[in-house]
């Protein structure tokens, strides 16, 4: 496996401009002769599909939901960053670039991050033109708020529904192109494998989730915009169907998988309430602008919150990080919450939680202002917990939320398989070891609206494609494999449901590869995962048939891939013998409990090559150089 990041020469602020000029172009009249498959219709997938179609390419877009508008990007609440500097508070492209590299704990590729910061301003323009109703001031100008890990207000938002509004913008642009005939949209189709011909990505095999039909689709290039893999933990803030299958199947076909152990545990989620729990709900990080996080000073203090006087409260983030306070980055805030709970100072019935208190903000600003800013989030919390956050503090606890790791891509967003592009959360590129709040929406849209439509043209223009159709032997072979695999789940005939087995996997991952990881724990996980996988293939029960809408069967396939992927994730976590960002190895911490990087040995991207089932994967490295941001220990004090 050869890793050539293809980062253009020249000063960092000129790279993207120069690169765009040097890339080959496809003549407008020839674009319709190229077929592009896009898997996934979230922010990255829908924006790429719409833009590629506007340019004139033939696009086929696939999603497993009943409409592209359901993609999980829709659930992002807080906002999207952009270096507009509308507030005149010292923001700039360079500052957003700097904050993102630093926030990612120096494990991202500088050139990609800089491009992201440059494109952030175009995204806001594009979205406003589409009719995205970002919040505004009475003057009619756009409004901003601040987010964790930043000291400027650069976050644009649409109430607590920013992801929804951005996704609907991209979805509407996509549907416009469905109408034009340049996009063919296939809903309720799940990609189950990738097809390579002569080493290039030339198509996919899907299952029609209503009829069960296994079908092949051919193209000149394939984009995976299939999201992250937080559901490896079973309980996460991701939608129920989010899965690793598309990128794992591509990995098995030769795509390098980068930094799978970089996962983000979001600090502000509603704590678990029982064994039946099916997912965890995020409370937007924007709440930390006005809410104060605390636990009782004394372990085991059982008094209700309003009876605990200020002197007996520990506003621990404000204590540890006076300059960032409650807005410390996500990884740090999460770890500190775990520490409080481990010290016996957790709150709520289970003792697994901390308070997020709006008492002071309501006193200072009035209830109306708080309601305008966070009304829908407060309603959501009340709905789920039965407690009113205007009267009692919210209880929150960290939960798996986002995965920075993903398929390795070069500067053009192409994976190690020629013709296979990866966008959005599914790739590894921009967030290093920790993503800052309000940056996921930015990356998904930058990739889809502005990067892929430019870089894919270069590949298409520069490649001679053998004419193939779905009758090609490569498609027939993969179809047969997919058919057999699907039937196997039904044939096991055990006694345990997919959800039961998935919960078991989630528990292993949370205990040993969650917020704190140790060599011993990871070795335990690496022993238990193969055992569980073996039991999966013996004990699973999937009722029904493959020829109907069968949700257990869909979930079984996803879990089978998670069970393989989980092992690689732990393997990577064990190999990365340092702490950085969301990857916290307990062996490596400073005296005051901060992540301690080992820059001499680990200033690289770990890219794993699949070597067959049961064989040890091989690690390749992309060395990272920091020429524009000085490598330093992160400090938010």
């Amino acid at each position: 496996m050869e890793l050539n990041a293809k980062v253009p020469d020249g000063p960092i602020e000129k790279k993207w401009d120069r690169h765009r000029f040097e890339l080959k172009l496809v003549n407008p009249a020839n674009k319709r002769k190229y077929n592009v498959i896009i898997v996934g219709s979230g922010l990255a997938g829908a924006s790429a599909a719409a833009t590629m179609a506007e340019l004139g390419y033939n696009v086929q877009c696939f999603c497993y939901n009943d409409s592209p508008r359901r993609a999980h990007s829709i659930a992002a609440q807080g906002g999207i960053n952009a270096a507009k500097n509308y507030q005149g508070d010292g923001d700039s492209i360079h500052r957003l670039f700097y904050d993102t590299v630093k926030g990612g704990d120096f494990r991202a590729r500088e050139a990609n991050v800089h491009r992201l910061a440059e494109l952030s301003v175009n995204i806001i323009d594009q979205c406003v033109a589409q009719g995205v109703p970002f919040a505004r001031e009475y003057s009619g100008y756009l409004s901003n708020r601040s987010f964790g890990g930043a000291q400027v207000s650069r976050t644009f938002y649409a109430r607590g529904q920013t992801g929804q509004q951005l996704l609907l913008g991209a979805y509407q642009a996509l549907e416009k192109e469905v109408r034009s005939g340049r996009v063919r949209m296939y809903t309720r189709h799940e990609m189950l494998d990738l097809v390579l011909i002569e080493g290039r990505a030339r198509g996919i095999v899907t299952r029609d989730m209503v009829t069960g039909a296994i079908e092949s689709w051919v193209a000149d290039a394939v984009v995976l915009a299939t999201g992250g893999y937080s559901n490896v933990f079973f309980l996460s803030t991701n939608a129920k169907a989010c899965n690793v299958t598309a990128i794992w199947r591509a990995h098995r076909k030769g795509a390098g998988l980068a930094n799978p152990c970089f996962t983000q545990i979001h600090p502000t989620c509603i704590p678990q309430s029982g064994d039946y729990q099916s997912k965890l709900t995020l409370m937007s990080e924007s709440l930390r602008n006005d809410g104060r996080i605390w636990v009782p000073l004394r372990a085991g203090d059982q008094r209700p919150p309003h009876e605990i006087p200020d002197a007996e409260r520990d506003y621990y983030l404000e204590r540890f990080y006076p300059s960032f306070g409650n807005l410390a980055p996500r990884d740090i805030s999460s770890r500190r919450a775990k520490e409080m709970v481990d010290e016996g100072r957790g709150v709520g019935p289970s003792g697994v939680g901390v308070y997020l208190d709006f008492r002071d903000a309501i006193e200072r600003l009035g209830r109306d202002v708080i309601e305008e800013r966070y009304g829908n989030l407060f309603d959501m919390y009340l709905n789920i917990t039965g407690e009113n956050p205007y009267d009692v503090p919210m209880r929150i606890y960290p939960a798996p939320h986002y995965t920075m790791g993903g398929l390795w891509v070069d500067y053009n967003l192409m994976s190690t398989i020629p013709g296979l592009y990866v966008a959005g959360e599914a790739n590894f590129s921009d967030h290093g070891a920790n993503r800052l709040g309000a940056s996921a929406l930015m990356q998904g849209l930058a990739d889809g609206y502005f990067v892929l439509p430019v870089t894919m043209g270069d590949y298409l223009a520069g490649t001679t494609f053998e004419k193939v159709d779905t009758g090609h032997a490569a498609f027939r072979d993969v179809e047969r494999e997919v058919q057999q695999r699907t039937q196997q789940y039904l044939d096991i005939g055990g006694t345990r449901s997919v959800a039961e087995l998935h919960r078991e996997l989630g528990q292993i991952m949370w205990d040993y590869c969650g917020m704190a990881r140790s060599e011993e724990g990871l070795k335990t996980a690496l022993q238990r995962i193969p055992e569980l996988r073996e039991r999966f293939w013996r004990e699973l029960r999937v009722p029904g048939s493959a020829a109907t809408l069968n949700q257990s069967l869909e979930a079984a396939g996803r879990l089978a891939d998670f069970l393989e992927f989980a092992e690689l994730m732990c393997f990577d976590a064990l190999d990365r013998d340092e702490s950085c960002g969301g990857h916290f190895r307990v062996e490596h911490q400073t005296d005051d409990g901060e992540a301690l990087r080992n820059d001499d040995e680990f200033t690289h991207v770990s890219v794993w090559e699949y070597k067959g089932a049961g064989n040890t994967p091989v690690k390749h490295r992309e060395e990272l150089t920091f020429e524009n941001v000085k490598l330093a220990q992160r400090s938010y004090k």
Binding site: R69, A129, G131, R136, Q164, Q172, K176, G386
Partner: protein, 250 residues
Amino acid sequence: MNLTLHVWRQDGPRDEGRFEMYRAEGVSEHMSFLEMLDVVNERLTADGHEPIVFDHDCREGICGACGFVINGEPHGPLPETTVCQLHMRHYRDGDELWIEPWRATAFPVLRDLSVDRSALDRLIQAGGYISAATGSAPDANAVLIPKGSLERAMDAAACIGCGACVAACPNASAMLFTGAKVGHLGLLPQGQPERYTRVVEMVATHDDEGFGHCTNHGACETACPKGISVDYIAMLNADLRRSRFRQAGD
């Protein structure tokens, strides 16, 4: 608490459906309605039966995938709440619940509680967008938008496309869905150039898809999990009338 459920089971679009009875036992008040169904499904699976099929994904009330009718009410009894956000503390021990899919000609049942809502996507294709090709946008602050219009546009844009409005309507009309999109885009300066062609084309597609006409019952607003007002239907009607006096492209 223990509940008795009567759930609509239907094998496929062309099969006959029927209600089947299940007991949900030991239900915790903290469970969401869908988690309660998860538990029922786990037991069905353990007993070798096929679980109840229902659409769902985010379970946060925003993706719009979930939704079915509980005792005659789309998304159940709570105002402005999807079934994934409806918690069992709103029910009492011994309650008997009738659970069935959205009923509308334009939404054929696929299986059990899952219906085909692709007609809503086709409604958006008919004009529910602003044609702004990527790269053509001016600076985001170049056009100012009064906060009042912006907030009203946002109220309409909050639609999650779940289809409850159609299920609630005695005519199975999708006018609230259509009006919300016409309202969202029509209230913004960017939406003006296509404002009148949009409304004409969306209404024509609405009727072609087999949705019924709006006769001002207002059941849609009551059922809407995002509380979208029927005022948007009035705005749609006003725009539809005005469109008669305009040339295409005005």
